[in-house]
Subunit: 454 residues, 4 copies
C-alpha cells in the first residue's frame, strides 16, 4: 500500500493519493491534478475513485477534471444539490484494489461532511486509518459557522455527534489524515504536526475533552472571518468548476506593457519577501508573500486580471499555480526580468519603512508612532498583544480605513512581518504615506521579553 499526502501550500490543504494492487483513490484532489496521474503512473495503478470529504469552501476542488482524465468515479456526502458525482449514504463501502473504504457521514463543518475509513483487507477486517477532511484536525476540529450564525449551535451539535459517536468509536489505534495542516483558516488552532491518531487526539486535542454543552458553547463563541471569495468556491465545488485544462501560463511582459495593463485595471501581486517588497516595489502593488497568497481573496476579485512580480521563474510559477487553486483564472502576465527590469528603465518605486520591535517600542514610548495596528486573527490577538495596539484583521482593513489616521505615523504588526507587509501595502494603495512594517512581529516582541496584554 502506498499513501502519499499532497500538500497545497497556501491554503494548507492536504489531499491524499492511496494505491494498492494496481488500483488507487484520491481524497480531495487539488485543481492542478496532474500530480495524481503521475503518481498513478509511477506505481502502476489506475485511479478508480475520488472521494470528497465535503464541499470545500477555501479552494477549487479538482475532482471533475481528474475524473475526466482518469475515468475515476467521484463520491461525496449527502445533503447538497450536487451537479456532478455520486452521493454516498452513511456506511457505503467501496473496494479499491486490495483495500476497502467505508464512508461515514459526519455533518457539522458542512451538511455533507464525510469521513472515509480505510481497511487493509490483507491483514484482516480492522480499520487502521481515517481521512477526516475538515471534521477533525490534528489539535482542532472544523469550523461550524459557514451556514451562518443561526446555525452554529445546531451544526456544532451535529459535529459533536460525529466526533464522539462515530469517529472516536473507531478506536484509539486509527491514524487520522485530515484535510488541512497548520496555517489553514478552516479550523481554529491546528497543530504544526500533520499526523496523528484518534488515540493521540483523544488525549491531546482539547476540543475532544469538552462535554457536549461546553463544546457547543465554545464553537458558538469562536470568531472566524469568511473571505469574500469563499462564496464562489462553494458554488464551484457544488456545480463543478471551470475546466482550464492546465494551470494559467502568464505571459512575460516588458515594463511598458506591464504598466499599460495596470492602467487598465489589472491587479499586481508581488510575492517577494517583506524586506524586498519594503525595499522597493511598484507603486500600487500588493505584497502577498508565498505562504499567504490566499489573502488575495480579501482584496482582489476572482474575475480580475492579475499580474505577478516575483524574484524568479519559479516564483511566477508558484504564484500562478496557487492563485489558480483558489479560483483566479486570469493570471495574465508577469514582469519579465522582475523588479530589476522595472527600475533599470527608471520607473518610479515605492517603499515601506521597516522597523524592528525594539525600534517600535522606542517609537511608542517617544510618541513617534501614533497608532499600532495588529492585523492578526482574533484568536492570535487574544493570546497576547501590545497594550496600545488596535486590532483590525487584515481582511477588514479596506472596510475600516477611516479608523486609521491619515498623514500620521502608523505601525502595522502581525506574527512575523509578512501579513503586516500585506496590510501595509493596502494602506499605501489607500494613500497612507507614513506606514511602518514591524519585521519579526509579535514573535520577536515576545522573544525580546516586551510586555504584552490580553
Amino acid at each position: 500500500m502506498y499513501i502519499q499526502a499532497v500538500k497545497s501550500e497556501i491554503v494548507s490543504h492536504i489531499s491524499y493519493f492511496v494505491a494498492a494492487k494496481a488500483e488507487a483513490f484520491v481524497i480531495d484532489p487539488r485543481r492542478d491534478c496532474g500530480i495524481y496521474l503521475e503518481m498513478a503512473q509511477q506505481v502502476g495503478a489506475k485511479i478508480a475513485y475520488i472521494f470528497e470529504t465535503h464541499r470545500n469552501e477555501d479552494y477549487v476542488i479538482g475532482s471533475v477534471e481528474l475524473s475526466k482524465l482518469s475515468g475515476a468515479k467521484i463520491i461525496h456526502g449527502p445533503g447538497l444539490a450536487w451537479k456532478y458525482g455520486e452521493t454516498l449514504i452513511d456506511g457505503s463501502e467501496y473496494k479499491v484494489g486490495s483495500m476497502k473504504v467505508k464512508a461515514i457521514h459526519t455533518p457539522g463543518h458542512s451538511p455533507d461532511s464525510s469521513c472515509y475509513v480505510l481497511y487493509d483487507n490483507e491483514t484482516g477486517d480492522t480499520p487502521f486509518a481515517v481521512f477526516t477532511g475538515d471534521t477533525l484536525f490534528v489539535g482542532d476540529v472544523g469550523r461550524t459557522d459557514f451556514l451562518g450564525s443561526n446555525n452554529i449551535a445546531r451544526m456544532s451539535d451535529l459535529l459533536y455527534d460525529g466526533l464522539h459517536g462515530k469517529l472516536l468509536a473507531l478506536g484509539d489505534g486509527i491514524i487520522i489524515y485530515p484535510g488541512h495542516g497548520a496555517g489553514s483558516v478552516c479550523g481554529g488552532s491546528l497543530a504544526e504536526r500533520d499526523i496523528s491518531t484518534l488515540g493521540a487526539e483523544r488525549q491531546m486535542n482539547t476540543m475532544l475533552n469538552l462535554d457536549r454543552e461546553a463544546f457547543v458553547k465554545f464553537k458558538v463563541g469562536e470568531r472566524h472571518e469568511i473571505p469574500p471569495y469563499f462564496k464562489t468556491m462553494e458554488k464551484y465545488n457544488l456545480e463543478g468548476p471551470p475546466i482550464l485544462g492546465q494551470t494559467p501560463k502568464p505571459r512575460g511582459l516588458k515594463p511598458s506593457e506591464f504598466k499599460a495593463m495596470m492602467e487598465k485595471g489589472a491587479k499586481v501581486v508581488d510575492i517577494r519577501s517583506p524586506p524586498g517588497f519594503g525595499g522597493a516595489h511598484i507603486p500600487g502593488s500588493y505584497n502577498l508573500t508565498t505562504n499567504r497568497l490566499n489573502n488575495a481573496g480579501w482584496v482582489i476579485p476572482l474575475d480580475a486580471e492579475v499580474l505577478i512580480v516575483a524574484e524568479d521563474a519559479a516564483g511566477v510559477e508558484f504564484a500562478s499555480r496557487n492563485l489558480f487553486r483558489i479560483g483566479y483564472d486570469k493570471i495574465v502576465g508577469y514582469l519579465a526580468g522582475g523588479v530589476e527590469a522595472w527600475y533599470k528603465e527608471g520607473n518610479p518605486l515605492s517603499k515601506i519603512d521597516m522597523i524592528t520591535p525594539s525600534i517600535l517600542k522606542t517609537m511608542i514610548e517617544t510618541g513617534e508612532v501614533v497608532e499600532v495596528i495588529d492585523v492578526r486573527r482574533y484568536n492570535e490577538y487574544d493570546e497576547g498583544h501590545i497594550q496600545s495596539a488596535k486590532h483590525i484583521y487584515l481582511g477588514r482593513i479596506p472596510d475600516r480605513l477611516e479608523e486609521i489616521p491619515k498623514d500620521k505615523p502608523v505601525a502595522v504588526i502581525c506574527k512575523t512581518g509578512s501579513r503586516s507587509s500585506f496590510a501595509a501595502s493596502i494602506l499605501l494603495r489607500a494613500g497612507r504615506t507614513r506606514v511602518y512594517n514591524t519585521l519579526g512581529g509579535m514573535d520577536a516582541w515576545k522573544k525580546l521579553g516586551y510586555k504584552i496584554v490580553f
Copy 2:
C-alpha cells in the same frame, strides 16, 4: 543573446528558441510547446514571433497553440492557402528585442520554404546565422519529391537557386541552424553533427558541389518513401491542427481492461528494446522502439486508439508525447505495471527468436533460413547488403506480404536490430510464425567482416 535548440526525438526535428533583451522568437515550435514558455520565463523574455520555415509534413507544428499562449505573431512563407498566421514576402524584416530577422524565400523542399537570417544589431549589421529549415541540412539538402514525381525537376531547380543564389551568398561565416538532425527522413543522408556554417557546408556538403544539371539529376534519381500520415500533417499544418491543450495522459489499465480495449480494435505500441520485446510480448503488439516511434505512421491510422507498453512511467510519457507530436491524439491507455503485470496473471505471450549475424551467416550457409529480408531504406540497402537479402522497406511490408514465405524460416535485418524488430512484429501479426530478428544487423555483419554486395 540566448539560442537554444530544442530537439524532438523521433522525427529528429530541431526547433529553436532565441531571445535577446526581453524579447524572443521561436523557429518551428513543436506541438507540446510549453517548453518555450518555460524558457521565456527563465530568461525573462516575452515571445514576440513564431517563424515557420515551411509547412512541415512529418510532424504537427505547435505554432497556433504557442501563439494562443504567448500572444506571438506567426509568420510563414508565400505560396500556400494558409488558414492562420501572416505570410512573409522575400526580404521581410522583423525586429525582436535587440535582434533583426530577415526572411528569404527559398522554395524547393516545398513551395513556401523560407530561411530566416539572424542579425545581431549590437555589433553591427552583418548577419551571423541562418535558420534553414528543410532547405539546407548539415551534409545534405531537403527532399524535393513532395509535390509528386512530375514536379521533382522543377522543385530541385528552385532549390538550387535558393541554395546558391540566396543562402551561400550570405558568406562563409554564417552559422546554419537546420530543421532536422541525423535520423530524419526529410533529407537523404544528414550528418551526425547538428551544427555547421555555410563555409563548412560549401566545402563538405557534396550536394553543394554539384552543378545545376548534376544537382537536378541527382535529386530526380533519389528514392524516398512517403508514409501515409504525411498527408494529414500537411493538412494540419496548413489549416491549424487540433488543439488539445496538453499532451495526452493515457490511463493506467489492468491487464483485463487492456485486453478488452485490444479486442475493440486499439493498437498496441510496445516501445521496449528488441531483446525485451523479442523475449516476451503481448501477442499482436508492434515493437516501435523509442527512436523509431514515427514508423507507427506506416501501420497505425492517426485516428486509431493507441495503447502503450513500456518499461516504466518515463517510457509511457515519452511514447505519449512523441506519438502526439506526429498527430496521434487518442493515446488512451497504458499497461499499468508493464508486461510483468500481464504475465503475472498468466496471460499468453509471444516471442521472436533472436540471432546474431554469425548465427545468421551459418543459417544461410546451411540453408536453415530460406529468406533474408532487409528492411532498411533504399539508400542504406544500396550502400551494401547481404548477397541473398531481398529488399522490402519496412513500411511496405504490409503491402508485400505475399512475397514473404509462410511457414518457412525468415530472417529480418536492418542496421542494428530495432527496425527489424518492428518488421518482425508486423510479420507475427500477419501470421508468420518462424521469424528471426538479427540483433546487431548490418552494422555487426560489417564489423565481423562478412561479405556484402552492392
Copy 3:
C-alpha cells in the same frame, strides 16, 4: 513538524527525517546521505541528532558520513563495542527543536536494538509516534537469529519483553515508523503497508497475539537465510564504514573495454527485466533486476569489481547507488550504449528460454521438463508450491549445483519471474544449457487455478 520517510529501494529500508522549529533528527540514515541535508535546507533546519535503531546488518549505515557533513550527534543502543557515536541508556531523553525524543532499549533483534518515542511538546507531554527499527514491523516482528541458533530462544524472549513490556505499553494511539517495509529479509512476512499504529498492530499483527511461550517457539521455528555479505555490514556498522564522499560514478566503457575487464574478473550485473535479459545478454552476466539487486550479496564478493548493464543512464545510476548502499565500493564501469552497443559489434549473446505457467504445466505433463526448481524463500515455498518442484533457495544454488541435472531440461520458478531469472543466470554461468524461466511464476500459476501442494 515535518516527518518524511526516505525509502531505499532494494533492501526496503526506511529511514526518517523529522524536523520541527529549525532542528531536525534522522533515524537510520542511508549511506548516500545527501538527501537529508537537502531536506534540512528545504525546511530550514539543522540536523542535531542521528538515532540508530540498531547495528544494521543488511545495509551500510550513513551515520558517520552524515554526522561529518551536518555536525549531528550519533546515538545508538547499549551492549556493543561501538567505535563511534554515543551510547544511550534506557530512558534517555533528547530535545530536538520543539520535540522530545525518548529512547527505550528493546533488545531481541540485536542486543542493542532501541526504539525512539516521539513527543510533540507543543500539545502536551503525550507521545504520538515511535520509531521501531527492526523490533516491530507492520504485520511482523524482527528476526532473532543473528546471534546464532543457540541464542534464538533467549533473544526471542527479550524481544517479547520489549514488545509487550515497553512498546505496547505506550498505548494504542501511537503511530509506528518501522525500519523496513515489504520485501525486506529482516522480518518474516511484512505487510505491504508501511504505516500503522500500536493499536492496529495489537489487533492485526499475529505475532503480537501469541503468548510468550508460543512466541518464542514460533521464532525458534523460523527459517531465515543469512547472505554472506551481512558479516561485513555488521563490522562496518559497528566500527564505521568506508567514507567515499560520494556514490560511485562508474565509467562508460566500450564493448572491447568491457570485455577486457570481464576477462580480468569483474562481475557483470545486468539489471534489465527478465524478458530483456532472457532475450539477449552478455554471456556470464547475472540478472539482478532493480528491486532484487541485494541478491548480488549471494554471488558477488563485496570487494569484487562490478560492471553494470542497464537500459539507460537512470538504470546505471540506480544500480550504482543501490549496490553502494549494501557495501559495493568498486562499481567500476558500465556498458556505454547498453547491450545494443554490444551486439552492434557482432559480439556473442546468451539467451534464456522463457515459458508461461501454462506451457510449464504441459511440459511437466509431457515430461519435457525433468526438474522444476523453486527458488523462493522457505516461507513462500511452504505457502504453496508445484507438486514436483524441488526447493533450492536462490542464494543456495551455487552450493547445491550438483543437485541440478546437467544437459537435461530444467525450469526455474519464483513468485513472478525475476528471482528465477537470476537463478537461471547462475545456472547458465555454471554451464547448464537447457534452462527455462517461468514468467509470471507462482503468482500466475495460482491465478490460472493450477494445482499447488503444501
Copy 4:
C-alpha cells in the same frame, strides 16, 4: 556529434562537452565536474580527453578531479611548469571517437594559451569549429596583462600573431567556441551573444580590424583590475587544486549559532537582490547578488570561513557551488530559515536607503548628496558617467576609504544597482552611515535622458 556548452554563472565561464561514437572530450571543465559524467552517461560515451585552453586565473579548473573520475587524459599548452597532465606541442592531433582534434599554440593571453580545432572526419578532413579559450571571444580578444605591465606589449604581439597567423587562417566558416561569455573580466567588452564564426568575427570584432601596431597600442592602453584571489587560482591550476570530492554542503544554523560564527570571524555573503538586502539585512554582511558572487574575491580571503544568507535552499546551493568554483572551500553554514528567522528572534537589522536616478538627480541638484561614487569598471565609466561622479572601482573601495566622506550623504551607483549594493555594504561595514544605493543605476539614468559626460 553532440556539443554541449556548460556555463558557470558567475565568472561567465563556458566549458564544453563534445561526444561522437561513444567517446567524448571536455574543454576546460569546471570544478564541480559531475555534470560531464552525467552527460557522458546520457549519450553513452566515455570521456577520453580533457583539453585545457590555458592555465585559468579566474576559477579553479576541474581537470584533475574529472580525470580521476573518468580516466580521461589531460592535455594543456606548453611553456609552464605543469604539475599534472600532458603538454601538447603546436599541431598535436588527438582522435576522439569519430572526431579529430588538433591543438594550435596561441600564446598571448597566457604563455600556454592554446586553441583546439575540431574536425568531423565523417564528412571530410575540413575543420568546422575551434575552441578558442581566452584567445578570441565573441566581440573581443583576451587580456594580455597578467604577466605584468612590462610584458603587455610582448604578449599582445604574440596574441596578434596567433589571431591572424593561426586562427583566422582556418577560414571564415569555422564556428568559434570561446572560454567566456558576456560578463567575464577576462576580456574587455564581450558581446552578449556566445556563438559566432571566424567569418563573423573578422567582420564584426573591432579588435580583429586593427593592424599590428594599433592592436598592440590598444592592448597596452587597456586598464584591467586583477582581484587578489587570481594569484591562488593560478597556483591551483598549475599544480592541481584541492580535491574536495563534492561541493561544500554548508550546515543550517540557528540565528544564535550564526551570530557566534560571525563573532569568530566568519564572513557573511548575502545573495539576495538589492531591494531585499537594502530593506533589511544582518549588520556586517556583504551583498553579493547571484551574478556578482565572484566579487567576493575582492574582500573575502579564500581561506576565510563563509556564511550564506539567501531567500531559499536553491540560493544556498547556488552560492555554495559558485563560491566553490572560485576557490572558497570553507562554506561553513547558512542561516536556516533565512533573514526571517533572524528578525523573528528580534535581532538587529541594517538598511541601505534606496533611491531612483530621478531622486538622485534632485539630491545632487539640491546638494542633499555630497558625493556620488561610480563603482563600475574603467571602460564602463569612460563610456559615460554623471558629471559629479567620482570613480572608484568597487574592488578598490576598501583601499580608498579615506576618499569617501564620513558622516555625510554619499550615493553609490553602478550599471543597474547590484554592484553598487555590494559597494554600499562595504561602506556600511566600514562605518559609513549615510549611504544611498541608486536602483536602476546608469542604465536608468540614461533611459531617463539625464546628462552624461565622458
